[in-house]
Symmetry: C2
Subunit: 432 residues, 2 copies
């Protein structure tokens, strides 16, 4: 008789579950509970004053007029999502890309509606990566995606970020190294947050997207499979200026084969109505639909129906203008306060969109969760996201511990100003 | 340089995704598209006439009265779900179990709110099972859960179902066999649909639950970890009689260690407002919360807020009475029509709840998707779920191909009658 492989105190968890950890954000939220008067400039929560309460009620009233409409709204749907919402989504992204929506890249059959774009990122990683595979990420990158990679046992491979997207020279060097070492087949995804990036608020220009696509086309012969680009456009619609954003990689040659576009209606409309979406190469779109079928049968019809009506009635477009102006105002207030209260040695770039100001503190100050600055700031009742969270374990630059992500999304104008004032006090105390 | 392990035509999918298949239900739905006049007695969709459209609007109006309420409804929440909804859920299940809600088993800290109970079943399997592990299932069982097991590479191990839950003698024999062969450590979950089971509509009596728990306590020493019981109570509240259901296994000794209770508000309220939940041993509850955090950050606040209000205002309880009566009526209509139109050799047990009549056709008629009966029925424009889908690959009884699952959930009273008439015609043609 074989003895159990488990020690007597085991829970019998799967290998993945044995390794799962609470995300850093959970720890940050605990601090908020410990210090109730804390001003949080940490969470990526959205602005509470501009949530579309009236718009949502208006849509619910429209729907309630028809028994037939309410029936589809309150019943099961399909795994891939409502057809009309997928069509509207394809049209919308084509429009943002300044191109015709009848191009194959924007076809509704390639679109999957999800419970937020987080679910889409999870599904894509699940569908493409076995433990030991690799995903290239920007340094710094969206820290929750790093949690997903860790959970799946996927190796994150960092490429430095310049002020206009990833460093292409370093990127090509990494590809070449992987080719030479014979590991290129393990590289599945290039994960890029291309609009108002989390955490740096940078956007990636079109020229760089084109160069990147050409490099991938060249190297994927040696990989033996497409090296997918996962273009996370979560903040695309949160630009402050009314000017158009650069086209996505869906508009480029090779997109049908290797571009995966991840988008969301949560941040631009309401995070409590969690609807995200993704556009994928056809075989991948089918696999994602089936995995989602196992996971939850499909996104809740009520949520999808609300977004569908919002898009069709232009309520969505109208609301978007409102929140773009609102976030521009809040970013302005934060930056003004930083100028006023921060020591002159602290550096940042004023954001053009998104929810964050990525801020660098002079060395040797450590912004990490066990450093003096974080502790002092907690005592001052102000919370930020330590920059180190945004770096994968493979990089160890000094920058890791000298950056902070400051969010102007959730706090009121008054609390943004007050939070920055407190943080300034804490910075001066730490810098001496 | 190492050559890629992938053939040149590869998609680079993960091992799981390479094996993922469309679920049988997708194929059944395609038939519906091919034959538009088809009467579907296949899908587990709920009754469209009793969907709570007015109730949902009433709740939305209540919420819209307060800006503060709408703010929490349209914003991000926490990974485990709204605290109040978790408390109400614990209270409700304790009440159904005829016990005090302050018992640890019903504590809100052990409760996770999910996008439907399907997501909970997926998460539990992900958290407990590695590829090659085993889950015991009833034969027949809920066929979508078999898809989940297949997707995870988990071996389903069937235990025959008697008219009052699983065959305990066969169950103990399986445990003993696994112990003797040294494979007991791979057995992670006993998956049981204990109320108005899908597909048989049987419920498991309390005595059998007690005996099962005692057996598990005895055998799990050799497993080296808890052998979890996953009690799927999806149909618990859909009983026709007003009489109380048997207590769940949460009420039994050892529950804190090994009972996982899966429940849903989707079927009893609205499937378009997809809210499910699960109650788990504390360490598992934490792991599930973290995995869900990676997967989607938490269930959409809007959906949770609606259910919370429905439960608190007794709209939920009131609606439940309505649909219980409705399904009783529809089941009655189906059974009456079966008596009228089916050959006398066809057998079934009249359901006391749930959505299905499990029906057995005399041998050698094959109810399978490639059999004559299914084909003839499609030509008659009526669809059923072939019984074989409800059996795991490890069993090959003759019963496999002589059963059908007939659902009275979605079709109208008129179409139930007409569907059964057509099926009767098809049965007579096939039986000769």
């Amino acid at each position: 008789m074989r003895t159990s492989k488990y020690p007597s105190s085991s829970n019998g968890f799967s290998q993945r579950a044995q390794a799962v950890e609470p995300p850093p954000i959970a720890w940050l939220m605990e601090q908020k509970l410990k210090y109730p008067a804390l001003i949080s400039l940490a969470a990526g929560f959205t602005d509470p004053d501009t949530l579309p309460d009236k718009e949502t009620m208006q849509i619910m009233h429209q729907m309630a007029k028809s028994k037939a409409v309410m029936r589809t709204t309150l019943q099961y749907g399909t795994g891939s999502g409502r057809k009309r919402l997928r069509e509207l989504t394809g049209q919308r992204i084509a429009e943002l890309d300044h191109t015709a929506s009848d191009k194959p890249a924007y076809n509704s059959e390639r679109i999957l509606i999800t419970h937020g774009s987080q679910q889409f990122l999870y599904l894509v990683t699940e569908a493409l990566c076995d433990a030991g595979d690799m995903v290239m990420v920007e340094a710094p990158t969206y820290f929750v995606y790093l949690s997903i990679l860790k959970y799946f046992g996927v190796r994150a491979c960092s490429v430095p970020l310049k002020t206009d997207g990833i460093d292409l020279v370093a990127f090509e060097k990494k590809l070449e190294q992987l080719k030479q070492s014979g590991d290129l087949w393990r590289l599945k995804i290039i994960y890029l947050v291309t609009y108002h990036q989390n955490p740096t608020s940078q956007s990636m220009p079109l020229g760089k997207k084109q160069a990147l696509m050409r490099l991938l086309a060249r190297y994927e012969r040696d990989a033996g499979h497409p090296i997918y680009v996962l273009e996370d456009a979560a903040y695309r619609e949160l630009g402050f200026a009314q000017e158009a954003s650069a086209p996505s990689m869906l508009s480029l040659p090779g997109a049908l084969k290797r571009v995966i576009y991840s988008g969301t209606y949560s941040k631009p409309f309401a995070t409590g109505i969690r609807v995200g979406f993704g556009i994928s190469p056809a075989p991948l779109a089918r696999a994602l639909e089936h995995i989602k079928g196992n996971q939850d049968f499909g996104t809740a019809e009520l949520l999808q129906a609300i977004l569908e009506r919002a898009l069709e009635s232009r309520l969505y477009a109208k609301h978007l203008k409102l929140i773009q102006a609102r976030y521009a105002q809040k970013a302005g207030r934060m930056v003004d306060a930083m100028k006023k209260y921060f020591p002159s040695t602290v550096q940042w770039a004023a954001p053009q969109g998104g929810l964050y100001v990525w801020t660098k503190v002079p060395e040797p100050v450590d912004t990490g969760p066990r450093g003096e600055l974080f502790e002092t700031s907690l005592k001052q009742q102000v919370l930020y996201v330590p920059g180190c969270y945004a770096y994968a374990p493979d990089v160890m630059g000094p920058e890791r511990n000298t950056a902070m992500r400051l969010s102007f999304g959730n706090a009121s104008l008054h609390l943004i100003e007050e939070g920055i004032r407190r943080l300034g006090k804490s910075l001066r105390a730490t810098l001496g």
